[in-house]
Symmetry: C2
Subunit: 207 residues, 2 copies
């Protein structure tokens, strides 16, 4: 089975605001770009082609094309679902994504295949049913399963820690330092971050 075409939504303006306690605006932008790069490299490594669906023009050498759509995430993704055949939608902040994890997603049968994220999110999706649409607001993992059932689509879930880990909050940064091996980890190390253990709990410190 050929891998689906992959849409990677990317928000270029003031990204990753929840990382403000840890990073300046410029650093958040640098990390977001590094994570996008890592995701696109993993997609390519899994044998799939990608489209970056960006809120503003962005340089993404590893993608086949960039489409700029200023609408909110769900509206922009649904426009792509309507105009393309079967596609995958993979978030741009999955810094731990590997070709193997994505191959597992792509190889899972089902008309809608969901890789959940922490906190009820949907970090990656394969959509092979014409009537399915996304809504990333709220507990999107449950909403997407419900929506799939409503349109009569067979829904499956993929169990992957790497795909479940989106980098949104300061506590997520430690996952990149422990498990990452791409540009995102290099970027964080370049900014002086390292793993630190305090009172038996693992976090990050900055040199």
């Amino acid at each position: 089975m050929a891998p689906p075409h992959v849409i990677v939504p990317f928000s270029g303006a003031d990204p990753k605001t929840r990382l403000e306690p840890l990073l300046s605006a410029a650093e958040r932008g640098r990390l977001a770009r590094a994570m996008l790069s890592d995701v696109l490299a993993a997609v390519s490594g899994a044998g799939a082609e990608s489209t970056v669906l960006a809120t503003e023009p962005v340089d993404a050498d590893l993608a086949e094309r960039v489409i700029v759509d200023e609408r909110p995430l769900s509206a922009a993704v649904n426009a792509r679902l309507e105009s393309e055949g079967p596609v995958a939608v993979v978030m741009a902040d999955l810094a731990l994504a590997t070709p193997e994890a994505l191959e597992g997603l792509f190889a899972t049968d089902g008309e809608v295949v969901v890789a959940p994220g922490r906190g009820g999110g949907t970090n990656a999706l394969v959509v092979r049913h014409p009537d399915f649409s996304v809504d990333y607001h709220g507990v999107s993992y449950l909403d997407h399963r419900e929506r799939a059932r409503e349109v009569g689509a067979v829904v499956e879930t993929v169990d992957s820690f790497r795909l479940a880990t989106d980098v949104d909050e300061p506590e997520d940064v430690v996952e990149v330092l422990v498990h990452g091996d791409g540009e995102s980890r290099d970027a964080l190390e370049g900014m002086g971050f390292e793993i630190a253990v305090r009172d038996g709990r693992v976090g990050v410190a900055r040199r």
Copy 2:
């Protein structure tokens, strides 16, 4: 390949103290017991037998036996590693563990197979090398990989969101309500917890 015997360490006295902001001592005890039950059911569903390695006597119908060892976690587990053949060590707070996730762990080749937990932890392990020992303090995922290399053991990692999710902190409780379907979820619902979305972020509320 027959599944390994599974050691499930369980701390019966004042468990899950990091959940104090959310739960009383009695409720933490109830949740801890429910999670142990769910883990033992998943182990049994994966075709494996289990030993609960408890700090004090505990009733665990689903386990083949209970061994009481008052020593700290790592010392108690290492005593079992020395006296048993190949074993798995699966934490008692993996409320999302399923037979399928554990089968994936057991079926992975390697003399040391690690299922990482959030925050650099080691949530489940298979040990098939006589010289390997555990140290759960600190960034145990990295330490266990390093220890495996030191003793010349082939080390593999298992990529599972269900095995990566241990229930330690208040934010972990939402994962049980979203993805759980066992006694842990029943216990939380019985205590009045439900999923709640505030400012676009998914958490829990209590009725």
